[in-house]
């Protein structure tokens, strides 16, 4: 107990809890949110990688082969595995958030959230299947 009371009816002394810089580690939903935001970096990385690939393709066969050899180095393979995991996390967490932002009404009735999430997965699997088909035909 302090000897000096610092509270009077006319000067209330509120306590404001400071927010720690580690607030995002305090609860799993916060950590998941920060991970979701950070995994936009791997998404950006793959976009840059694709641009690099296109440039190599434009420069001719030798340049493209150099590009492929570079990608085979263990460092790149590791980086790509980590970034791919990040992209999957990013995509799946956003799939599950879509119904919050997107309300679809048919004949005045709101479509269930699970159905909108399901459509995301259908779109993803469908597009992946098309890419695999093209790749197998090539």
């Amino acid at each position: 107990m302090s000897s000096q009371p610092h509270y009077t009816a006319y000067h209330p002394k509120w306590y404001r809890r400071p927010v720690s810089v580690w607030w995002w580690l305090e609860r799993w939903p916060y950590t998941k949110f920060v991970l979701r935001e950070l995994t936009s970096l791997p998404v950006g990385y793959f976009a840059l990688l694709t641009l690099w690939q296109v440039r190599a393709l434009v420069e001719g066969e030798a340049a493209y082969n150099r590009f492929l050899t570079r990608l085979e180095s263990p460092a790149f393979v590791m980086l790509n595995i980590i970034c791919f995991a990040g992209v999957l996390f990013h995509a799946f967490t956003w799939f599950h958030l879509t119904p919050k932002a997107m309300v679809v009404r048919i004949f005045g009735k709101r479509l269930p959230d699970a159905f909108i999430i399901f459509l995301n997965y259908v779109g993803w699997i469908g597009l992946s299947a098309v890419i695999v088909l093209i790749w197998m035909r090539a």
Partner: protein, 247 residues
């Protein structure tokens, strides 16, 4: 079977403490007791100096929101058996200035709430002789869940943006703005958009989504804000592409 359970309650007595400290109380364990009942037992039987807000005891008034084991919780709707074996940590709602013990100051929220004009705005009221403003069940269904808000402020205590950006208008106020925007009788959407698309408005929201998770009434503030962002973005795009049409 347990006879008692321990409550660790954050006490803040500004005349003697610089910051909250925990005090433990042993209360009878009863299956049908909510945490609020246990707090009332402490107040009535063990320590009359404990301060906290409560009123209806049935999840309607929104006064008894507190942090229970770090989670924003309506203490009249959280029952002791869910917290076995204890101790149960009870603190004042996070991100609000603490006045005393478990009582927080909500003046800031009340000001924010007023800013979003949560009432029906009409360009021109129709005369009484023309009767009521009618609404179909489908029209009611569009906003009804947003209208269930009891201002318990659990969503503010769950939102890290409120902690980091205290000016953010916040989940409940934006959900309530959206409640009126989606009401077929209302014509004030443009007025509210100009407030909510500003620096303190919806774009501060980073979509952590915890406001919706902790809401005891299914209001879904996170959904309301994201849908409002979509409206705001569409409105902005229209004003760029068709400047004459958005006038």
């Amino acid at each position: 079977m347990t006879d008692t359970i321990t409550l660790a309650i954050a006490r803040y007595r500004p005349e003697r403490e610089a910051e909250p400290t925990f005090q433990e109380y042993e209360v009878p364990f009863r299956q049908d007791w909510a945490i609020l009942d246990a707090l009332n037992h402490v107040k009535d039987q063990l320590d009359g100096t404990l301060s906290f807000r409560w009123s209806c005891r049935m999840g309607v008034c929104g006064s008894c929101g507190m942090m229970v084991n770090g989670q924003p919780t309506l203490t009249c709707a959280a029952f002791l058996p869910s917290y076995l074996p204890g101790p149960i940590r009870v603190e004042a709602l996070r991100f609000f200035p603490i006045v005393r013990d478990l009582v927080v100051d909500i003046t800031d929220f009340m000001n924010k709430l007023k800013k979003v004009k949560p009432w029906i705005i009409r360009e021109e009221e129709k005369p009484l002789s023309e009767g009521e403003y009618l609404q179909t069940p489908n029209e009611l269904d569009r906003y009804k869940h947003h209208s269930m808000c009891i201002n318990c402020l659990l969503c503010y205590a769950a939102c890290p943006v409120i902690g980091l950006e205290p000016n953010f208008i916040g989940p409940a106020a934006i959900a309530l703005a959206q409640r009126y925007n989606m009401d077929s009788r209302d014509q004030g959407a443009a007025e509210r958009l100009s407030i909510l698309s500003g620096d303190e408005g919806m774009w501060q929201c980073t979509f952590v989504g915890e406001c919706t998770e902790v809401c005891p009434k299914g209001v879904d503030p996170a959904g309301a804000i994201q849908q409002y962002k979509l409206t705001g973005a569409t409105h902005w795009l229209k004003s760029v592409l068709l400047p004459w049409a958005s006038k």
